[in-house]
Structure formats: structure tokens, C-alpha cells
């Protein structure tokens, strides 16, 4: 138990679970507030569902290289690298799901959406955004992971609007619509696949694609103003 907790919180630096809990609680409060703003309750439900995608961005901090900067040191660690990430992911999903479930119960009946429908409408969104951010952040950084996750969401939404009948992931689908159930299943499946890829890449440390190569030291130092930073 102690090992599990320790793995979830630390590798080389602690994950700030307290801040993540504040983020989830703040998300809940703000989303509940925003959902009440539109005159049309359907628009309120839409806000809630998109907010679930936003909440998923919190996952990027768990896997980003900035959280465990000197990764080479971890190669010698006795615990498999992927296990820490898996535990962190599980912890974040539990935290996010708790916020989602609470909000769904609070908004039960809004615009004809039952709490169960709201959960079905929000949880896959949370999972998808978390998984996309988790994988992308593992390959790049917090900012890169966040941007990639948002891009994936906007891209999927655009594709769904472009091919409303043919594209399997319809983020705007509503209960009773032809793609509602299938779309939820696709989103969960896609999310699990993304998470699996992220953990696999983490397990095979050093073979990750997309990591910037180290530059050979040059005789002429580059100006400080040209110092590169990964976005």
C-alpha cells in the first residue's frame, strides 16, 4: 500500500495531488455555475459536456517530462517505469470521475438529461481528453500535451461534423441519436488504446519517438536568447 501511494506521488518529484484535487473541485463549482447561465438548458448541457473535455487536460501534468526531469536516472530504478504512470492515471481518473459523477447528480433532469445520461455524456469525454493529453504529454511536455489533446478534441469534433453519418466518434451526439451508444464505445476504446500506447512507450523507455535529440556540444556556444525550449 505504501509502495502504491509512493509510486503515485513520486518518482523523482512529487505530483501535486492537492492542486489537482483543487482543480477538480474548482472545475465542478465553475461548471455548475456556467451550466446555469444559458437560457436554453440544452446549451447548459453542452457546456457541461465540453467542460468534461477541459477537465481531462489535467491529466497532462502526470505524464509530462517536466514532472520527472532527469529521466535517465529512472532507468536504474527497480520499479517498472510504466507502473508509476498507470497509478497516477488511475488516481487522476478517480478524482475526475468523482467530480463528474457529483455534477451529473446535481444536474439530474436538466433539459431532459438523466444523471445516467449525463455521466454517459461526460465520462467518455473526460477519458478521451485525459488519454490524448497523457500520451502527448509523455512524448512532449505539459504545453505540448495540452495542445495536442485540445487539437485531438477539436479535430474529432470537426470530423464528426463533416461526416455525421460515417465518422464513429460524434462528440455532439445526444441520447437516442443513432450514434450515441456506438460513439461512447468508440471514445472509450480509443482512450484505452491511447493510454496503452503511452504506457507501452514508457515501458520501453528510450525508444520513444518524437523526443528531441540531444545536440552535440559545439565549440561555439549559442546565445542565451536562442536557447531552445520545448513548447
Amino acid at each position: 500500500m505504501i509502495t502504491t501511494l509512493a509510486l503515485a506521488r513520486f518518482r523523482l518529484r512529487p505530483v501535486r495531488w492537492g492542486w489537482l484535487a483543487v482543480l477538480a473541485a474548482g472545475w465542478f463549482l465553475l461548471t455548475e455555475l456556467l451550466a446555469a447561465v444559458p437560457r436554453d438548458p440544452q446549451l447548459g448541457v453542452m457546456v457541461v459536456r465540453w467542460a468534461a473535455l477541459l477537465l481531462g487536460l489535467g491529466g497532462v501534468v502526470l505524464a509530462a517530462s517536466e514532472t520527472d526531469p532527469p529521466r535517465d536516472l529512472l532507468r536504474a530504478a527497480p520499479v517498472p517505469r510504466w507502473r508509476t504512470l498507470a497509478l497516477r492515471l488511475a488516481g487522476w481518473l478517480a478524482l475526475g470521475a468523482l467530480a463528474v459523477l457529483t455534477l451529473a447528480v446535481r444536474l439530474d433532469g436538466t433539459a431532459g438529461w438523466t444523471a445516467a445520461d449525463l455521466v454517459r455524456g461526460m465520462l467518455p469525454n473526460l477519458l478521451l481528453a485525459t488519454a490524448a493529453g497523457f500520451l502527448a504529454a509523455n512524448l512532449t511536455s505539459v504545453l505540448g500535451g495540452g495542445a495536442a489533446a485540445m487539437a485531438a478534441i477539436v479535430g474529432l469534433d470537426t470530423a464528426g461534423r463533416a461526416w455525421p453519418a460515417g465518422f464513429p466518434v460524434q462528440l455532439r451526439s445526444v441520447p437516442g441519436a443513432p450514434h450515441w451508444q456506438a460513439s461512447r464505445v468508440w471514445m472509450v476504446g480509443l482512450s484505452l488504446a491511447l493510454v496503452a500506447v503511452a504506457l507501452l512507450l514508457e515501458a520501453r523507455a528510450g525508444t520513444r519517438v518524437g523526443l528531441p535529440r540531444r545536440r552535440r556540444p559545439t565549440a561555439r556556444p549559442s546565445p542565451a536568447s536562442q536557447a531552445r525550449a520545448r513548447p
Partner: protein, 487 residues
Amino acid sequence: MTALFGIEARHLARSPLLWLAFALAAALAALEMSWFLPALAGDDLLAYTSGGLLLSGGALLAGAWLGLRDRVTGAADLVAVTPTAPWRLQRARLGSVAVVAAGVFSVGFAAALAVSVVRGGRGTPDLRLLADGALAVVLGGWVGLAVGRLTGSRMVAVLAAPVWVVVCFLSVAGPSLRGISLSVQHLTPVLNPQDHSAAYGLLPDPLWPHLGYLLGLIGLVGVLLLALASRGSSQRVPLRPLLVAAVAGLVLVGAGGAKLLALPDDVLVLGPDRATWRPVQGESDPQAEALFADPGWSFPADDQARACAGDAALSVCVYPAYGQRLAQDMHAAIAPVAQLFTGLPGAPTLVRMVPVGMGNCRDAEAQVPEAWVRERTDRGDQQTRSFYRGVYLDCALGLHPGGSEHLTQAGEAVQLWVLLASGDMDRQQLQQLTQHAVPEPVPSPVAIAALAMAELPTEQVRAELAPVWKRLRAGTLPLAELPGQRP
């Protein structure tokens, strides 16, 4: 300083964050444009709304990265001891963000217009949209810079972009917000005008005050960032220019914002004379809806629909922004039907595009609202042709297009005969309509009457319809008096 400006601009221009947003904005704009008929005066707005918001979010992320960079790379201490004043470094960064952000938006805007031209779009794009969109993206970049510098948190920077977009989106949905009568939707960095006409422009037109408002906001954010940069440094930013810029920014924001808030949510164009234009606050105007539903109302002549195509029997005129090709397409769809009604009293000889309404009939003119023609989201070619014919047929048969009244049985039979005689429908399809039509099947007597008319030569039907035509349009002609019904 110029070298630093160039270096920062190059770094930012290579930022994957900005180009990721650009790719998404391009995809979204392409999708939106595919749902509408091409017109430069219209596609410019789609490029602005679709691209502006996403690019603004991308610029915010890229700006945040720039704001965080010194801290992330550990170069902050190094920068602090350089002899150049920190505010000068910040000024170079602000300039580079502005140039790159405006450049990226301009590239996207130009690309969208080029695509529109290739698709057949005509007209004159509103270059104020280019300026407004560029300023909105610059503002996003500078806000990102401020977020990165002030918070120093990557997570806050990541969350700032979607929050920025969501706040903009909610403001855009202003008219439907609860308990707010002010037009707060105009205060969002990227506007989302609900109504636009290729002939009459944005309705209402918030662009000039919005440009001033955005300039003011950018000025204020710039002043804040320069002041922050010189904090704790012995080399202070000159106070007087900073104060002037801050006051100018406040004045622009105040004046522009007040003007924007005072604008109505919507403007109904009821004629070419601006005095007849009616401001609408909220989602709908019951008086306007009643006006449009009135069969006696029609849009006055305005000489705006000047791209025409036609023959002796029928002319179709649309706004030049849609090109003569649209007029030709509409004419080709309607002409076979119009030929059958040539010479009959009340049959339209002109189909004219108008900016508003539900399709109205005026003397020998059928009016087709611009929005109905331009937006063709789910319509196939066949449905589009049927739609054009429908507008014409409604006016020809004395029905108010888009109204709630229905054709009499005689009118319905004549409509079916027209579709049969023009080749738009065959007998088998008519048989199917008697069994499975939506919303309700065609009654058998009507179908039988239409088939009987179709058996007769067209000229004979026209000759026999002429004496009873007025009664048919008035809805008082019984089915039994149609051609081919009498033994």
C-alpha cells in the same frame, strides 16, 4: 534589438502550438465553407469566425510558452544581467508575437478567400474582418505572454487557452444568456455575427467599434507587460509614453465597448432605406415574424440583385457576390416549370434574391431569401433544384412561400401535373406519393386528376387552365373543373 526581434519571431513562427491551431482552423473553415455557396462577401466572415477563435487560442498557448521560456530553460537569470533593459527585450517579444500572430491569421484568411474564388465566389471581401481577426489573434498571443509570465505555471498556461475559447464562446452566445439585455456578445475578442448579407453586409455592423475596442485591449495588455518587465530592474520603462498608451487604451476600450454594448443583437433589413431597418434585441422579433408571414408584405425593389440569367419567360437575379452561375443554375432548375405557366396571370416572370423574409410574392416576382439559397448544409443537387422550383410554384399557384397555408386539391393536382409535364417526376413516383409521401400521402383523386392532365397535350391544358386560373389561385376551384376531368 532588431536581431532579437527576428530571433523571437522565427522561434514563434516555428511553434508547433501555433501551427497546430492553424491546421485546425483551416479544417474548420473548410468545413464551414463547404456548407455554404461560395461568395467572397460571406466566406470572409466564415474564415474570420472559424479561424479567429482557434488561432487566438493557439496564439495564447504559443505566447504562454514564450512567457514561460526563460524560466523553463533557466535563462531568466542570464536575461536579468544582460545590459539591455528588460522592457526593451519584452518590447521585442511583444513585437514578434504581434507580427507572427497577425501574419498567421492573414495567411489563413487569404487562403480561405483563394479557395472561395476557386469555388466560384465573387464580390468584395470586407478587409476590416482581416484587421479585426489579426488583432484578436495578437491579443490572444499577448494575453498568453502575460499568463506565462505572471503565473509561471505550465498547467495554468494549458488551461488558459480553452478557458479563453470557452469564455469567447459563451459571450458569443450572448443573446441566449439569462437575464442580460446588453449585447455582451459583441465584447468577445472574435465576433460571431448571426446575420450577414452579401449585399447589405453585417447586420448590425460592429466592426469599426470592435477594432477600436481590440486596439485598446491590446494597448492595455502591452502596457501591463512592459510595466511588469521593468519591475525590479534599475532600467525603468519611460513613464510618459507608458501613461499615454494606457490612457489611449482605456479610452478606446471604453468608447468602443460602450458603442458595442449599445448595438442591437440583430437588425432586420426591411428595405433599401436604412430608416426602415429594425433593431432586434433577443432571439426573435414577433412583429417581424408576423410581418414576414403576411402575404401582403414583400421586400421593396432595391436594385441589388444584378447578376441575372433568363429568357423571355423568366429571369432570375441574385446578388453579384454569388455570381451569374447561381442565377443560371436557378434558372435552369425553374425554367421547365415556368414555361408551362407562361402567360397565365400572376405567374412570376422574375425570381429575385432578397436579404430577409420567408419567400414572398410581389406582382410577377417571386422573392427568395438569401439565407435559404446560401446555406445548403444537407441539400443535394436534386433537393436544391426542387427547392428553387418550389419557391416559384408557390408564387405561381397563389401560395405564400414558407407560409402555413396549404394548396387546395386542385392546386395540388396542378402542381403534380407541372412536375410530371416538366419531367421532374414520373408516373411511378407519383404512384409512390399516393402511398408513402411525407407528411401525408397524396389523395388518390388528386393523383388521378394530375395523371389525367398529363395525358392531354400541354398546350391544351394551358388553354383550359387560363379561364379558371384566377379561381385556382384564389383556392376556390374544385378538382372537377380541372382540364381532363370533365367527360
